[in-house]
C-alpha cells in the first residue's frame, strides 16, 4: 500500500470528521452564552431552561471535538514529518499559541461551567460559558492562521530547504487569514443557528414547551440571517482573494480550461480531467469576471495557461488539482449557503406576520439541521483539494511532505483504526444528540424540570 495515499486519506477522514464537531462548538457555544445572559438579565426561568437544554447538546458535541482534535495535532508529526520539519519554524507558532491561549481557556472554564453551577457566583458562572465561547473562537483564529500560511505563505525565507520565519507580523496578519477567518467563523455561527432552529422546529411541531422553543427559534433565525448573509459576503471576498493569489484553484473551482475575457460563470459541466475539457456546459456570461474582479471585462486565466506557467516556474509536473471535485464541492457550498439565507429570510418574514409556526416551515427547518455540515465539508474540500498538488502553495508538494520512515502497513493500521473508532463515535454521538434533543417529559409540560441538572455532572 502506498503510504502517501493512505496518509492523505487519513488526514482527509480525520480532519473532515473533526470538523463535524468544531463549527457547532463555535456556533452553539456563543448561542448558549447569549441565552444564559438573557436569564442573568431577566431572571426569567424559561431562559434558564433554554440555556440548559442547549447546553446539554453543546457538551455532548464538545467532547468529541476535543478528542478528535488531539489526533490532528499528533498527525502532523506522525504521518507528515517532512512537512513538520519544513514548516515547523512558522506553522508551529499558531499551533502552540492555540493550545496555550485557547484550549486551556475552553477546557478549564467548561469544567467550571459544568460542575460549578452551585459553587460559583452567578456572574462567574455566566462568565465561564462566555470564556468557553471565546476560547473556541480564539482557537479558530489561530488554527486558521496556520492554514492561511499553507494557502499563502508570507513572512518567511527558505534557508537550507526549510521555511524560516522572517516577519512574524506578516504571518499574524496574513491577508488570507483576514478573508478566511470571518468566512469560517460566520459559517460556524450559521451552523449553530440552523441546529437550534431545526431542533426547535421539531419541538414546536409536537407542541412541547412552546415558550422555550419558539423563543429559541427566533434567536436562531436572527443569527442565521445575519451570519448567513455575512458568510456569503466574506466568501465573495475570499473568492476574489483566491483569484489573485491561487488562480489555479479558482480555475478549477470554475472548470475553466481556457482563459476567458470576459469570463463566464459555469452552472453545469461534465468534466474530463484527462483530456482537459468539459462538455455540456451551461454558462452565465460575464458573471465570473464580476465574481473574481467586480467588473465585466477582466480576464480570468484558464487551467491550461496556468499549467504552462507553473511548469515554467516550478519545473515539469502536473499542477492541476482534481477539477471535478473542486468544481462540484464549490457549487454545493455556494448553493447550500444561498438556501440557508433564503430559509432565514422566509422565517423572518413569517415571524413578522406572526406565523412562524407554520408546519411546512417547521418541517423544512428540521431538514436544514443536517445541511450546514455538508456545506462546511464541501467548503474545506474546495479549498484544500484546490491547492493540490501543493501542501504549502508553491513551496512544498504534498508528495514530499509525508513521513519517509513510516511504512504503508503502519499507516493502514492507524487509518483503519481511526476510521472504525470514529465511525462508532459518530453513531454514539448521533444517538445521544437524538435522545437529548427529544423532549423530556417534564419539559413537555413546561414545568421547572429537575431531570436536566444531572447531565452536568458525570
Amino acid at each position: 500500500m502506498d503510504p502517501l495515499l493512505l496518509a492523505r486519506w487519513q488526514f482527509g477522514v480525520t480532519t473532515s470528521y473533526h470538523y463535524v464537531f468544531v463549527p457547532l462548538t463555535i456556533g452553539l457555544g456563543l448561542i448558549v452564552a447569549i441565552m444564559q445572559s438573557f436569564h442573568y438579565r431577566t431572571q426569567n426561568p424559561m431562559f434558564d431552561r433554554m440555556a440548559r437544554f442547549w447546553g446539554k447538546l453543546f457538551v455532548i458535541n464538545f467532547a468529541l471535538g476535543v478528542v478528535t482534535g488531539i489526533v490532528q495535532e499528533f498527525q502532523f508529526g506522525m504521518n507528515w514529518s517532512e512537512y513538520s520539519r519544513f514548516v515547523g519554524d512558522i506553522f508551529g507558532i499558531p499551533l502552540a499559541i492555540e493550545a496555550l491561549m485557547a484550549f486551556f481557556l475552553e477546557s478549564t472554564f467548561l469544567g467550571l461551567w459544568l460542575f460549578g453551577r452551585d459553587k460559583l457566583p452567578k456572574a462567574v458562572h455566566l462568565l465561564s460559558i462566555w470564556l468557553v465561547a471565546l476560547g473556541s473562537l480564539v482557537s479558530a483564529i489561530w488554527i486558521l492562521m496556520a492554514n492561511a500560511w499553507m494557502q499563502q505563505p508570507v513572512g518567511y525565507s527558505v534557508i537550507n530547504g526549510r521555511a524560516r520565519l522572517s516577519d512574524p507580523v506578516a504571518v499574524f496578519l496574513n491577508e488570507r487569514l483576514l478573508v478566511e477567518a470571518p468566512h469560517t467563523v460566520l459559517a460556524a455561527l450559521t451552523t449553530g443557528g440552523l441546529f437550534v432552529l431545526g431542533i426547535s422546529a421539531w419541538h414546536l411541531i409536537r407542541h412541547h414547551d412552546r415558550e422555550l422553543f419558539a423563543r429559541s427559534a427566533q434567536i436562531a433565525l436572527v443569527i442565521v440571517a445575519v451570519a448567513g448573509l455575512l458568510t456569503a459576503t466574506s466568501g465573495h471576498a475570499q473568492a476574489q482573494h483566491t483569484a489573485r493569489t491561487q488562480p489555479m484553484k479558482l480555475a478549477a473551482m470554475e472548470a475553466l480550461w481556457d482563459s476567458e475575457q470576459p469570463a463566464a460563470f459555469s452552472l453545469w459541466a461534465n468534466i474530463d480531467q484527462n483530456n482537459g475539457t468539459s462538455t455540456r456546459e451551461i454558462k452565465l456570461p460575464y458573471l465570473l469576471s464580476v465574481l473574481a474582479y467586480n467588473n465585466t471585462t477582466s480576464e480570468v486565466k484558464g487551467i491550461h495557461e496556468l499549467q504552462a506557467q507553473d511548469v515554467a516556474a516550478y519545473g515539469p509536473g502536473d499542477y492541476v488539482p482534481p477539477v471535478a471535485v473542486v468544481y462540484w464541492t464549490f457549487r454545493a457550498m455556494v448553493g447550500l449557503g444561498i438556501l440557508f439565507i433564503l430559509l432565514a429570510l422566509t422565517g423572518l418574514a413569517l415571524w413578522w406576520r406572526g406565523r412562524l409556526e407554520r408546519r411546512w416551515f417547521l418541517r423544512l427547518a428540521m431538514v436544514f439541521v443536517f445541511l450546514p455540515y455538508l456545506a462546511n465539508f464541501a467548503g474545506w474540500i474546495t479549498t484544500e483539494m484546490g491547492r493540490q498538488p501543493w501542501v504549502v502553495q508553491g513551496l512544498l508538494r504534498t508528495a514530499s511532505a509525508v513521513s519517509p520512515n513510516v511504512g504503508g502497513a503502519q499507516v493502514l493500521v492507524t487509518f483503519l483504526g481511526f476510521t472504525l473508532l470514529y465511525g462508532v463515535l459518530a453513531f454514539l454521538d448521533f444517538f445521544l444528540l437524538y435522545r437529548f434533543a427529544r423532549p423530556v417529559s417534564d419539559v413537555r409540560h413546561g414545568e421547572q424540570d429537575t431531570g436536566l441538572g444531572d447531565v452536568f455532572a458525570y
Binding site: 467532547a63 515547523g88 499551533l95 493550545a99 496555550l100 460549578g116 458525570y458
Partner: protein
C-alpha cells in the same frame, strides 16, 4: 542560559505539569473498579476528576505544540518514530474521554459498564505507554544521519522500556489513589487509602528495579556528575515518604510526595538528556540536540514573549478551578 535551553526547560515544565496532573486522573481512572462499589460510588470516583481531566490533557497538547514550534525536528522524529505507541495513546485518550463524557448520559447498566471499561483501559494504556516512551527517549533509539528513526515497534518494546512502563503505571496509580483519598466521599477515600498502602510495596519494588536498570542501561546518572546524583535520590526519598505519610493519614502531604516523585523523576529524565533532546543509539554524532533540532532564534523569541504573557494567566485560572473544586465529592453533593 541561551534561548534554546530556555525552550527546552519550558517543554520540560509542560511535561512535568502533564505527568503530575494527568498522572492522578490516569490513576483515578485505573482504580475505578477497585475502590468503588455500585454506580453511585463509581460516579463519585469519576466526578472527583470531572472538572479537571480535560484541562489536564491540554498540558500534553500544549507540550506537543511547543515541541512543534520550538524543536520541529524533535517533534517530527519523535512522532513519526514512536508511531504505533502514539496511535495507541490517542485511541486510549479518545476512549477515556468518551467514557467520561457519555457514561452518565444514559441510565442503563450495560452502557455504563462499557463506559467503565473505556475509562479503565483508556487510563491504564497511556499511563503505561508514556513510561515506555520516556524510557526509550532517555536510553536512545536508532536515529540515522538524516534525523530519521530507523527502528520498528519491537525496538521500542525492550524489557527495560517495559519496566519503565510498569513504573509509570504504578506511580500514577498510587498518585491517583492518594488524590481520591483527598477528594472522594469518606468511604471511597478510605478504600483508596487502603489500596495505596497495599500498592506501595510492589510499586517500590518496581521503582527500585528500574533505578538499578537505569544505572546499568543509560548514562543518565553519570551525566549529573554525582553518582547517582541528587535528583534521583530525592525522588526515591519522596516516594518512600509517600508510603509513611499515607500510613500516618497525612493525606495532603502523601499526595504531594507522590506528585514530587513524578516531578523529580521527569526532571531527572530531562536533565539527563540535556543538551540532547533525542539521543541516537547509532552514535553521538546523530543525536538530536536543542541546537540542531531547533527553530530559528526569531521563532523562539516570538514564542517566548507569548509564553511569558500567557503561562501565568493559565496557571492563575487553573489554580482557581482547583480552589473552587477543593471539597470532597460526596453522595449528597453529587450532580448538584
Amino acid at each position: 542560559m541561551d534561548i534554546n535551553t530556555i525552550w527546552y526547560a519550558l517543554i520540560a515544565v509542560l511535561f512535568i505539569g502533564y505527568f503530575f496532573l494527568e498522572g492522578f486522573d490516569f490513576g483515578v481512572g485505573m482504580l475505578l473498579p477497585f475502590v468503588a462499589r455500585g454506580d453511585t460510588e463509581r460516579r463519585i470516583v469519576i466526578n472527583t476528576v470531572g472538572p479537571f481531566w480535560d484541562a489536564n490533557e491540554v498540558w500534553l497538547i500544549t507540550a506537543g505544540g511547543a515541541m512543534f514550534a520550538a524543536f520541529p525536528d524533535w517533534y517530527a522524529t519523535l512522532f513519526s518514530g514512536f508511531y504505533l505507541p502514539l496511535f495507541l495513546i490517542l485511541v486510549a485518550l479518545i476512549l477515556r474521554a468518551v467514557g467520561f463524557e457519555f457514561r452518565g448520559k444514559l441510565d442503563n447498566a450495560t452502557w455504563r459498564r462499557v463506559a467503565d471499561v473505556a475509562i479503565v483501559v483508556g487510563s491504564t494504556l497511556p499511563a503505561f505507554l508514556w513510561g515506555v516512551a520516556l524510557t526509550n527517549l532517555v536510553r536512545g533509539v536508532p536515529i540515522g544521519a538524516d534525523m530519521q528513526f530507523q527502528g520498528g515497534l519491537l525496538t521500542l518494546l525492550s524489557p527495560f522500556a517495559l519496566l519503565g512502563g510498569m513504573v509509570s503505571i504504578s506511580v500514577f496509580a498510587l498518585h491517583g489513589a492518594l488524590f481520591l483519598n483527598l477528594r472522594a466521599d469518606e468511604q471511597v477515600a478510605e478504600r483508596a487509602r487502603a489500596f495505596a498502602l497495599r500498592l506501595w510495596w510492589p510499586a517500590a519494588a518496581v521503582l527500585l528495579g528500574f533505578f538499578v536498570a537505569t544505572y546499568s542501561q543509560t548514562d543518565l546518572f553519570d551525566r549529573s556528575g554525582l553518582v547517582p546524583g541528587t535528583m534521583p535520590v530525592l525522588a526515591m526519598i519522596m516516594f518512600g515518604a509517600s508510603g509513611v505519610l499515607a500510613r500516618l493519614r497525612f493525606g495532603g502531604w502523601a499526595f504531594a510526595t507522590t506528585g514530587l516523585t513524578i516531578v523529580l523523576a521527569t526532571v531527572v529524565a530531562f536533565e539527563g538528556l540535556y543538551p540532547r533532546v533525542m539521543p541516537s543509539s547509532l552514535g553521538a554524532g546523530y543525536d538530536l540536540t536543542v541546537y540542531n533540532a531547533s527553530s530559528s532564534p526569531m521563532t523562539l523569541h516570538v514564542m517566548l514573549v507569548v509564553a511569558i504573557v500567557f503561562v501565568p494567566i493559565v496557571l492563575a485560572y487553573q489554580a482557581y478551578s482547583y480552589w473552587v473544586f477543593r471539597r470532597r465529592v460526596t453522595r449528597r453533593t453529587l450532580g448538584g
